[in-house]
């Protein structure tokens, strides 16, 4: 697969189908890949794709006031299923022109969650992460632990319906359109069964860990505002100090801002340096959108963004009563 991918990318660069292709290369830490920006055929040799390729690279298409889009006429990007949905999202929200992005789909079997790898290692330093069949082996100086791969896969991947790109210019292999998953929203359904006090205690405990580095926001493909509300000071929406109440406001507003736009790529979860449980509220909002509007972000490039449309048959209880 990797050879096919490299061949395809080399061809794309040589035939100038894209001026830049964004992919991954081996990172400097075990079990970690890092973004690779390819402009010449020689740079293709560093390209990799495996379960360490966590980053949703499409966020570079809109990052930094769309600098890349200014510098390059056509950008190629290698995508997993979730990443491809981000490109679709950008297109339907008029952030990119579809024809300016060359989408290279790769078959995804899920990515490893840093937090879960660390948990397997019991907090000890990890020196290597190897996969053999469905077993993942984590090694350190004085330990070697093998676990089933599903134990270290990101929750986003375990419950992923669309592992492969549905929108692409080229796909390496055969894309799966949709896969069956059980309990897509189990995390929030289980949480909803708890008492209000328990839920509140959990949310408070999680968000009190936040150091407000905004790594979650900055890696999020759906967070591309030129100026985030937390950075505005007239009016000032929230306090800058990492106090729990302000941190909760930050995260909840972000949740609402990405309602119907979150593709559950898990980037925020992986980026958080203090392991805040960011996914649970994202899933809550995703579930609401699914139930109310039967909408899933990033699936259909011809569909209008759910929060920017209105249909008469939609549930209107909240205004009619």
């Amino acid at each position: 697969m990797l050879q096919d991918l490299k061949g395809a990318v080399r061809k794309i660069i040589e035939e100038k189908k894209a001026d830049l292709v964004i992919g991954w290369k081996q990172g400097t830490l075990p079990g970690t890949a890092t973004p690779l920006f390819i402009e010449t055929p020689e740079e293709v040799s560093e390209l990799i794709f495996d379960s360490t390729c966590r980053n949703n690279l499409t966020s570079y298409l809109t990052k930094d006031k769309r600098k890349l889009s200014k510098d390059y006429k056509k950008i190629g990007v290698i995508v997993k299923g979730c990443d491809a949905r981000s490109v679709v999202l950008y297109a339907v929200e008029n952030q990119i022109k579809r024809e300016n992005v060359f989408i290279i789909g790769v078959p995804c079997s899920g990515v490893y969650e840093k937090k879960k790898l660390r948990s397997v290692a019991g907090g000890r330093e990890i020196l290597s992460v190897r996969k053999s069949g469905i077993i993942v082996t984590v090694k350190g100086y004085d330990y070697e632990i093998s676990v089933p791969e599903k134990d270290v896969l990101s929750d986003s991947c375990i419950f992923c319906r669309y592992p492969d790109a549905r929108e692409y210019d080229i796909f390496i292999g055969e894309p799966r359109k949709e896969v069956e998953v059980d309990g897509e929203f189990s995390v929030i359904e289980d949480f909803a069964k708890k008492s209000a006090e328990e839920r509140w205690e959990y949310i408070k405990a999680e968000y009190s860990k936040c150091i407000r580095c905004y790594a979650c926001r900055n890696v999020c493909p759906s967070c591309y505002c030129n100026e985030c509300f937390v950075d505005q000071n007239s009016p000032k929406w929230i306090g800058k100090a990492p106090e729990t109440s302000d941190s909760i406001v930050f995260h909840l507003i972000r949740n609402i801002h990405i309602a119907g736009r979150c593709v559950d790529c898990g980037s925020c979860v992986t980026a958080c340096p203090v392991d805040v449980d960011l996914r649970i509220m994202n899933k809550k909002v995703e579930k609401e959108i699914k139930e109310r509007f039967n909408y899933t972000a990033g699936l259909d490039i011809n569909e209008k963004p759910v929060m920017a449309t209105f249909c008469e048959h939609e549930n209107q209880d909240f205004i009619m009563s």
Binding site: T28, P30, E125, Y214, V219, D231, K240, A241, P242, A271
Partner: protein, 349 residues
């Protein structure tokens, strides 16, 4: 060195707790953080570095400078006991000493008086730091790039080593020596060979160091070089690296008040954030990611050297471990050192 059996260490810590507020590494799940302890049992020295640096003990992420109402100003009360930091790695000890150059050194105020930061000083000046030798450095550790070593004791008050059965203590500063003298610990020639073996094993774990001697000069000459775009391309401009860094110390001051009363708060800030330099007019002199990455690198390896004769980095490697895109500062330094100056370098833009 002074020796104490491992099983007796809690007695020593309890004694110290009488005179000091003791901060030590405490385990929270698989993570480790420095916290004020109420019992020595909470301490987890372990082999892994704390995820956040202990800088926040002296320089908290958010700190109330004063509270005000229409007719009064209240400055928060001082801590009652002096601080004792237990089990700090040498990279973090050096970082705290660097921060003291900024906050504890006299700087000239606009009215020509010499100003020292009182909030820093009241915590820092009376503090004692127990530097814990690194028996098992991590692969992200690169203190050796800056002349450090897992068993370096530079900057510490007391230096201590863990062996299989004992803890060995050595007073380094006057303050540290005096404290140990009071401790009643017995001098013990000990097994030097055993300590030497631990030390050699630790050093063997360190990755080879890059020679960074030319870095300062090089940085002074490449302001406009295209290498910046190359190294900055993957940075997503979050503040994770700055907030877990033991040496980053930029801050913002925020007034929070209404109805005639409020407070002034000092908060960590980071040069990675777009609004860090955004001016009231809306103009941002560091409007893009490349400029901001350049600022971070320049501050650490050029400006601070210019001002204080030392690099603002001790090679703790935390930023490498937390970066969501694996922006590895070691690779950045190597890339810059490798860069050959070809074009005529223009002046500041």
């Amino acid at each position: 060195m002074l020796k104490i059996k491992k099983e007796n260490i809690n007695t020593m810590i309890e004694m110290l707790m009488k005179d000091f507020l003791v901060y030590a590494p405490v385990k929270d799940g698989v993570r480790t953080a420095f916290k004020a302890i109420s019992s020595p049992d909470e301490i987890s020295l372990g082999s892994v570095k704390s995820e956040k640096s202990p800088k926040e003990i002296f320089f908290p992420q958010s700190e109330v400078l004063f509270e005000y109402s229409k007719d009064s100003v209240t400055v928060p009360e001082k801590n009652e006991k002096p601080y004792l930091l237990w089990g700090v790695r040498n990279c973090d000890v050096k970082s705290i000493r660097m921060l003291d150059k900024v906050f504890g050194n006299a700087h000239q105020s606009p009215d020509n008086s010499m100003f020292k930061d009182p909030y820093w000083k009241q915590r820092y000046d009376s503090s004692v730091i127990f530097n814990f030798a690194c028996n098992q450095p991590l692969t992200t550790c690169f203190c050796n790039w800056f002349g450090g070593d897992p068993f370096d004791e530079t900057g510490s008050d007391v230096f201590f080593i863990e062996t299989e059965t004992d803890f060995l203590f050595k007073g380094v500063s006057e303050k540290g020596i005096a404290l140990l003298n009071k401790s009643g610990l017995k001098e013990d020639a000990g097994d030097d060979n055993a300590v030497q073996k631990i030390r050699e094993e630790a050093q063997a774990r360190m990755q080879p160091a890059s020679d960074i001697t030319p870095l300062f000069e090089k940085l002074s000459k490449i302001w406009d070089a295209p290498v910046w775009t190359k190294v900055a391309s993957k940075c997503v401009n979050c503040g994770a690296c700055a907030f877990i860094c033991p040496t980053c110390h930029c801050f913002d001051v925020s007034d929070e008040g209404k109805n005639g009363k409020g407070r002034r708060v000092r908060l960590w800030d980071a040069c990675m954030f777009p609004i860090f330099t955004c001016e009231a007019s809306g103009h941002n002199p560091r409007g893009n990611s490349t400029q901001r990455v350049k600022q971070r690198v320049m501050h650490k390896f050029n400006y601070f050297m210019d001002n204080y004769g030392i690099h603002l980095c001790t090679g703790c490697g935390r930023c490498i471990a937390v970066c969501p895109v694996n922006f590895d500062i070691r690779e950045v330094i190597k890339e810059i050192l490798k860069y050959e100056i070809k074009d005529k370098v223009t002046a500041d833009v």
